[in-house]
Symmetry: C2
Subunit: 188 residues, 2 copies
């Protein structure tokens, strides 16, 4: 509902170009946007129109000129009032779960393999989140509180994916036990 504020947020660190912001968003494993030009450059045009940012153009030789955007006082105020806007609960899209909802048509082994594939997908994602958590972005003069908040955001993501991994392991274990139970019952 607003990549606009993400862009504005990054600009509150320091003046940047659209390209800089694109890279920051692309790096992030947890922001719910893929960094795509279309949105970022249009957001910057809008921010400029609203006078939340000012723009200066640095000509370069042998390269496209850099359009550097700087947050204005008006922009700082807009960011502040957005930050305190009504929080929404997380919206998680587990498309795999809709697969699981109709997975009873599978035999025990195929189901287990499917769960293993999910385990790997989640594990891989967690790996990248951990990597990102370790490397701090170049963000100037953070207060201890801001460092703490960012640290806790990372921990939140990690804990969430770890929970998912443990859940998968439990389901696989218990399905295996169920299967063995049934086999025992039929062989009796």
């Amino acid at each position: 509902m607003s990549i606009k504020y993400v862009v504005l947020g990054y600009l509150s660190w320091r003046p940047m170009t659209g390209y800089d912001i694109k890279k920051l968003i692309a790096e992030s494993e947890t922001l719910p946007w893929t960094a795509n030009n279309n949105q970022i450059y249009r957001a910057l045009v809008e921010l400029h129109k609203d006078e939340w940012v000012s723009k200066t153009i640095e000509e370069q030789v042998g390269a496209p000129s850099r359009h550097v955007y700087t947050i204005t006082e008006k922009g700082v105020q807009a960011l502040k009032s957005w930050v305190v806007s009504e929080p929404e609960p997380p919206q998680t899209k587990k498309s795999f779960f809709t697969q699981l909802m109709w997975a009873d048509c599978l035999d025990a082994q195929t189901l287990d393999e499917l769960l293993e594939a999910y385990l790997n997908a989640v594990g891989e994602k967690l790996f990248f989140i951990r990597v990102q958590a370790d490397e701090k972005p170049n963000m100037p003069e953070r207060t201890p509180r801001e460092s703490y908040l960012w640290e806790m955001l990372h921990r939140n993501w990690i804990a969430q994916y770890e929970l998912e991994l443990n859940w998968i392991r439990q389901v696989r274990r218990e399905l295996l036990e169920m299967g063995n139970g049934r086999q025992k019952a039929t062989s009796r």
Copy 2:
């Protein structure tokens, strides 16, 4: 990436109308779609064109005729092959976290109130998920394994939101301690 398969999945239980499916999707707290006519009816048209479902029209007096869709053998096969398609990791959109990223501009009390508002939003969502987990949808002849899977899906959602609540409580507690620490330091 496909409400089409959700519709097909529900039709694998029993023949239904678009309206029935709409209600089932609307009830669900965890499916990542709001039940909207536009998509559901268009999906049904597509499914019919693909011959994954067949259609019969029941005329009624004093009410619109019911278009009842029934899954075909071809549809069952399509559902099966989708179920085993490559799992994707969960995609969680915590828009509140982008607010928190720039929340260092707030004073301690405002930040705490913001976190409390988030706590309430998450708590409310959890409440509705619990309610939905308790009332089983009218789904015919489930195998024990299918019941188990659905049960575990619900538990997964509950655990995820509980994790979030505990995280918020921890952050609030630790921020409070930080604040007190600072006050003590300045008053000394």
